[in-house]
């Protein structure tokens, strides 16, 4: 059956809780718009999925001291991880062997890019020298939650959180942990905005995944975490299970540092591997929450891979990036939460802004929300460096 999920927490451009995210998804309300917090000369030229809370507001809601050295990545992460634990009704962490596996691509870049030129003299800026590295936010969140043992950070670009979820499941299956909080966090930064700008794959409007005229992605920010617990803990504590993580696959496209291969080899292999672990046939997948970034390259490559896995019987699919933007390291966890909501409500969320099928495949995603009997959901996350990961969630 897989590994049980007993809690989830999320903060994204479409809401600060699972409920708010769900409402936005049900009402087709996108969170992508003009930048509010980040100062960049490109603010007129791009749209992004920014979390509406400022760092000061996050600090207040988290009841942190006014002076601290959390980066925005850390604040978003702590916000979502705390919510996940609450959702799982966990208050006593010492009762079971509990781990924390987070992921991030930018780490503390949001502060580094603001203060790097003041690091030499400005004492107030110097507290951010030690917060640049990827492990900083993870460690702060683990400390705040009181997790002392197995704590780590994965950084495989945009597939990071999917790999964090996968590692958590493997550690539980191997009996090395009883309980683990898994997911990812990334804040928007000038660094990534400019990086994707140079690659010319950033859209100036709200993205249109899988559309023939798609013109790139919107960056987003956010954090999401799941709580995974072993069967023994579930039985002992009589816990309610939200869904099961039944399959996972991690492969490498080994094609190019940033571009995906034309036939989506890495994606194809990751989906195959996940199906194998879940012991499912492709025709048992009821819905695919696609990576679907809306870049010309990804959506075609992913479509080809889907074609290869599912043949003529393509399940319903959509990309929810048109709601949240691409939240980079967090994307795999954000979309895991959405996949679980689909299983819980038996409801498929739409792919916004789709009008014209791409001529190469003729694929049509789900464009308005629909009630549907859903047993198994497959979700993809692909990243720079050819990293491809697939997760399969199954109904509790």
């Amino acid at each position: 059956m897989g590994v049980a999920i007993t809690g989830m927490g999320i903060i994204s451009a479409i809401g600060h809780s699972v409920e708010e995210n769900n409402t936005s998804l049900l009402t087709s309300t996108t969170g992508i718009g003009n930048l509010q917090h980040i100062q960049t000369i490109h603010s007129q030229a791009i749209k992004a999925g920014e979390v509406s809370l400022s760092n000061a507001e996050l600090t207040r809601q988290l009841q942190l001291p006014e002076v601290h050295n959390y980066t925005r990545t850390g604040l978003l992460g702590l916000f979502a991880a705390t919510a996940a634990l609450e959702n799982a009704n966990i208050s006593d962490l010492s009762k079971y062997r509990t781990g924390f596996i987070s992921s991030t691509t930018v780490g503390g870049m949001d502060m580094t890019e603001k203060y790097i030129k003041q690091f030499d003299k400005d004492i107030t800026a110097q507290k951010y020298i030690a917060t640049h590295h990827a492990g900083d936010s993870t460690r702060k969140i683990a400390d705040a939650l009181g997790i002392k043992g197995l704590v780590t950070t994965i950084s495989t670009a945009c597939s990071s959180a999917a790999n964090a979820i996968m590692l958590g499941a493997r550690l539980i299956k191997a009996g090395k942990l009883d309980r683990v909080i898994v997911g990812g966090t990334d804040s928007l930064s000038k660094f990534t905005i400019n990086g994707f700008k140079t690659l010319m794959i950033q859209s100036d409007s709200i993205c249109a995944p899988f559309d023939a005229h798609r013109n790139g992605l919107n960056l987003g920010e956010g954090a999401a975490y799941l709580v995974l617990e072993s069967d023994a803990v579930i039985q002992k504590e009589k816990k309610e299970v939200l869904a099961f993580l039944s399959g996972y696959g991690n492969t490498n496209d080994a094609f190019h540092q940033t571009a995906s291969s034309e036939n989506g080899e890495g994606a194809f292999l990751a989906m195959q591997k996940a199906l194998e672990i879940a012991k499912l046939n492709p025709n048992q997948i009821d819905y695919v929450n696609a990576h679907g970034t809306a870049t010309p390259n990804n959506d075609l490559s992913e479509s080809r891979a889907l074609q290869r896995v599912f043949g003529k019987k393509l399940p319903d699919f959509s990309s929810t990036k048109s709601f949240t933007g691409h939240t980079l390291a967090a994307a795999g966890a954000v979309e895991a939460v959405f996949s679980i909501l689909t299983l819980q409500q038996q409801y498929i969320f739409p792919n916004l802004n789709f009008k014209t099928p791409m001529p190469e495949t003729g694929f049509k995603p789900i464009t308005s929300g629909v009630k549907k009997e859903t047993q198994h959901v497959l979700t993809n996350s692909f990243g720079f460096g050819g990293n491809c990961s697939t997760l399969i969630f199954s109904k509790a």
């Binding site: 030690a130 400390d143 002392k148 670009a157 991690n250 490498n252 080994a254």
Partner: protein, 339 residues
């Protein structure tokens, strides 16, 4: 559960360690704030056209990985797992400085493309056309340990037979100087230079004539000075190893105030040979991978380099080595190796 063996170990470091067979016989005394690694002739391992785009960390990582595979006679690993604390910091700084100095204009993508933490794992996969499991850990001083633990898990669970695992770090040009500045402002700070390097290993469920067994390993995000001894005892007990069976204790001493953790640990042993390595490798988040390389070499060659002695005598018949590392009293790791 399958046993886990280390079948090859390669390191590029501040010492002459890459293609030398002299195992730290003549060492360079490290001094100064930071010190670069001794770079090998990359052209023997990487095509010139690719070398141009690569930052030092990528070059060191790909080169060390390539030799580790060759030494273990493996052409296609079943997984590639890397660890790096600061990632591709050189290209990160390069792109960030271009943003700042040109006010976000006239930028080119190369440095951004190469700046992600998984660049080394990706470049190795690309070079080998290896489509297998590929993962990158970036968790300060446990980055490499987590890569190794993931490899251990894959082998134990029979998800792989041969895993390429490594840790790498490059100095970069800017943030490292600020980190050093903060360190030096602290009167009890790290007493060895900050450095860089890449250490790669082939770990396998198949035993070969060069194998060293990885009995087990463990990581703790936090451990107090009052709990360190008990934690180590529990780890050894879990693995049915008696304290008296350990021949050599390799610690990550760097001269800072947190060396007290190593002193407390050493108290558990009587007349043990205590070794250190960070005066040879310098300090960096994945320096412990250099520590593992020394331990692997000691067991497979049955020799202890004089330069590593902290306390005790050179013994000639060594079976079990314990490696313990921590950074600033955080991120503790135990690794237990057996000949």
């Amino acid at each position: 559960m399958k046993k886990v063996y280390i079948n090859s170990a390669v390191t590029i470091s501040a010492q002459d360690t890459f293609e030398s067979d002299r195992f730290l016989k003549s060492v360079k005394k490290l001094s100064g704030k930071t010190i670069v690694a001794r770079y090998p002739n990359y052209k023997d391992y990487i095509a010139t056209a690719n070398l141009r785009r690569m930052a030092e960390g990528v070059k060191m990582g790909v080169t060390a990985a390539s030799k580790a595979l060759k030494d273990a006679k493996i052409t296609q690993p079943d997984a590639i797992i890397t660890g790096t604390g600061m990632g591709c910091i050189d290209d990160t700084e390069k792109f960030l400085n271009a943003i700042i100095s040109n006010d976000e204009q006239f930028l080119t993508p190369t440095a951004f493309i190469q700046s992600t933490h998984n660049t080394v794992g990706a470049q190795i996969a690309l070079g080998l056309q290896c489509k297998a499991y590929n993962n990158t850990y970036s968790h300060a001083a446990l980055s490499f340990e987590w890569a190794l633990m993931d490899a251990q898990l894959r082998l134990q669970q029979e998800e792989a037979e041969n895993v390429l695992v490594g840790g790498y770090e490059e100095l970069g040009k800017e943030i490292i100087n600020y980190r050093r500045m903060m360190e030096d402002a602290d009167g009890f700070g790290i007493q060895v230079p900050y450095s860089e390097g890449a250490s790669f290993f082939v770990v396998s469920s198949e035993k070969t004539e060069h194998s060293v067994e990885l009995i087990d390993m463990e990581a703790h995000s936090t451990l107090s000075t009052t709990s360190i001894q008990d934690s180590l005892k529990q780890f050894l007990a879990k693995n049915n190893v008696d304290i008296s069976q350990i021949d050599v204790f390799v610690s990550g001493r760097n001269g800072d105030v947190f060396d007290s953790y190593y002193d407390l640990t050493a108290e558990l042993f009587e007349n043990i040979t205590q070794l250190q390595y960070k005066h040879l490798s310098g300090e960096f988040y994945t320096a412990s991978a250099f520590g593992l390389w020394t331990a692997y070499s000691m067991l497979s060659r049955q020799e202890i380099p004089e330069a590593m002695i902290f306390k005790g005598e050179i013994k000639f018949d060594n079976h079990i080595i314990l490696i313990y590392n921590q950074f600033k009293g955080r991120d503790h790791s135990f690794i237990l190796l057996k000949r």
